[in-house]
Amino acid sequence: MDIKETTEDIALRGQVRQWLRDQAPVAEPKTLEERREWHQRLHAAGFVGMTWPREFGGQGAGPMAQAIVGAEMAIANAPAPINLSGLEIAGPSLMQFGTEQQRARYLRPILAATELWCQLYSEPNAGSDLASLGTTARRDGNVYIVNGQKVWISEGPWADYGVLLARTDRNAPRHKGISCLIVDMRSRGVEVRPLRQITGSSHFSEVFLSDVCVPCENLIGAENDGWKVAMAALAFERGGNSLARITRYQMAFRKLVKTLSKLNMDGRPMIADHGIRHRLGIAWAEIEVQRITALRLLSLAECGEDLGGLPSSHKLSYSEFERRFTDMAAEMLGPWARLVDGEQMSELLVGTSSAEPGTWAHATLWSRAVTIFAGTSEIQRNIIADRVLRLPREPRAV
């Protein structure tokens, strides 16, 4: 047990901080090309895909290094890299299950964001119960013919490729008839419709697939073995970069304290109020609990330990905290937590845990996304109950 940061980690932190001080853009990049250009600068500096093996363009670094970069970017309020579905889902899936040709073809363009990816998993009738998905891929000679509808697809409007889950065997048990395919989003029969979210932005889209031809060589892993690929990918999605998210909580906390120093209640600054100070102290303690657990998770992952239920437990914990935290701020700030811009007070632009800019109102809405995506809180609890506590299984409809 040693809680000291290694000298390498301290050096990396300093190096990233300095680089961001010199290089971070002053204005938030707006267009896709501006965001891609920023991503490519991060990539050139070696701050993207650090855990990827060298042969695929990464550095073979441990998860702690990438987490340190993420945390420093959150502190500097630097824009995030793009192509997260590529970096966190498609890339790791291809590395673990892809063919030589697929890896050689797709991995480097993912890192450089010259090709953007999306994840085509969820469907209108297959969310938490992903294995009930109904999109089909029918083998016809050298191609699969894909039909179905996907929804809640991040990055859909500009993605070049999608990682698709589709049913290839209708007669097999539900988990055993699913395959994972790479879909060229420019193929005939692919239609992407943006979905406007409650935050006002359009990160999501629906994707309609009508007789889309996907070459057989685009299969990731074996036919009918796609569930395994998908589950590994979800594990990547849950484990990864919580440290950056938690660092954003810390940044928001500091802005909240500044705001409370400027607002008065009964003729004195709100920050002097005992009740408010108590709640702030408890909230900071809770942020630290999340941060220390994130460090523990990273440290165990770095040492190659079995993480057991910790990724699920951690995701459940920070996402539920994030709701309480944004609600606490709203209770303290009253109307000031419900504005949609920072014109009255720049401290109200706290940013959101998704790294999208916004006010407390947006942060509050985004906090409700976190308890839904990458496995809802209820699914995380089921995972813990099944796999860690080994409680009796719930009866399921057959």
């Binding site: 809680i3 630290e288 523990r296 437990s313 813990i384």
Partner: protein, 368 residues
């Protein structure tokens, strides 16, 4: 950074768990409660033979010189077993005395402590809020020839009645903040029991009426550090008690049937158990981190201790409440073991002190 326990720590944790499973099963604890016994003499002498008590005492005094991470691992196991007796404060006292400059008194007491012949209580004054009136009679010392004359009141001291000696925070007549080791049978020391909900612990408030102690009874040890050690140990004991609550809840949910199936197959029950697990994972991270920070002497160790205290209090309440809910009516009966653990958690929350004071300390460090 490496959160893994090293092999020795792992072995210590396992060994402690084994010993307590054998010598401190729930039926034994139930019996001690029924007998009104506040120190399990059989367990105490067993642990003495296994040379547990010198675990945190320095090697020069015959101890093992282990640190606060190890102390918290042992405290966690004692919490899991709901062991009865001043074991944790005596182990912690080994570390406190080891930190004090050597003297005949320190050497003698350490020697007896290592042999299992000294039970030591640790009193602190951090446990706010004070009862009105007690505040006025703060502990103080006067020098008289080679002696110290100690007067005043220690409003809250766990284990004061069972202990042979009490470590109290005391400002030296010349002005230095430190601790003093006072023989609890010395003339002028009187312990008034404070009945508390946990039948396996003993609380008291202690008055000192011109108690004469030798001048080397004053120890140059930071009382804030001592109260941090006490808080970390209490948080670790709560962690252990929480683990026990979860284990018996999962077991019960697997065997109790209602509506024709085990209640552990109902999502509402499963989710209560999962929430207990989440709290325990978080608390485990924080207790280990705070103990390591305090052991390493980092500047922010006090803040991490306060964070661990708040986490222990919050998680403790959540876990025992859910455990009781999972058990239903059975959990509310005296003869079932759950009440031992939930009362241990409740009492230890008292030892952790007011979370308001911790919150203020944390906020001050966060916005400084």
């Amino acid at each position: 950074m490496d959160f893994r326990l090293d092999p020795e720590q792992q072995a210590l944790r396992t060994a402690a768990g084994d010993v307590l499973r054998q010598h401190c099963p729930p039926q034994r604890v139930q019996q001690l409660w029924a007998d009104g016994c506040r120190c399990d003499e059989v367990l105490w002498s067993e642990l003495g033979q296994l040379e547990w008590f010198g675990m945190c005492a320095p090697e020069s005094a015959g101890g093992m010189g282990l640190g606060l991470v190890e102390l918290s691992l042992i405290a966690e196991q004692l919490g899991y077993a709901s062991a009865v007796g001043p074991i944790v404060p005596t182990l912690a006292a080994g570390a406190v005395l080891g930190r004090a400059p050597r003297s005949d008194l320190v050497d003698t007491v350490l020697c007896e402590l290592v042999a299992g012949k000294q039970r030591i209580a640790i009193g602190t004054q951090r446990q706010d809020p004070m009862v009105a009136g007690m505040d006025a009679d703060r502990l103080r010392a006067q020098a008289h020839r080679n002696d110290l004359i100690i007067s005043g009141m220690l409003p809250f001291a766990p284990w004061a009645k069972e202990a042979d000696a009490i470590l109290i925070p005391l400002t030296h007549p010349s002005g230095g903040a430190g601790m003093a080791l006072v023989d609890s049978r010395a003339g002028g020391v009187s312990v008034t029991p404070l009945g508390n909900i946990d039948g396996g612990t003993d609380w008291g408030h202690v008055s000192f009426n011109d108690v004469v102690a030798t001048s080397n009874a004053w120890l140059d040890v930071d009382p804030v550090w001592v109260s941090n050690v006490q808080a970390i140990s209490a948080a670790a004991e709560i962690l252990g008690a929480c683990r026990r609550c979860l284990d018996i809840s999962v077991e019960y949910a697997g065997i109790r049937h209602q509506f024709g199936r085990p209640i552990g197959s109902f999502q509402a029950v499963r989710h209560m158990c999962a929430d207990m697990y989440v709290g325990i994972e978080n608390l485990g991270s924080v207790v280990a981190y705070a103990a390591a920070a305090l052991e390493a002497g980092t500047d922010s160790a006090g803040t991490f201790t306060a964070i661990a205290a708040i986490a222990a209090s919050q998680v403790g309440t959540k876990v025992w409440t859910n455990a009781l809910q999972v058990h239903g009516g059975v959990g509310f009966t005296w003869e079932y073991e759950l009440h031992l653990h939930l009362k241990r958690i409740m009492a230890l929350q008292g030892v952790l002190g007011s979370s308001d004071s911790h919150a203020e300390r944390i906020l001050a460090s966060a916005i400084s």
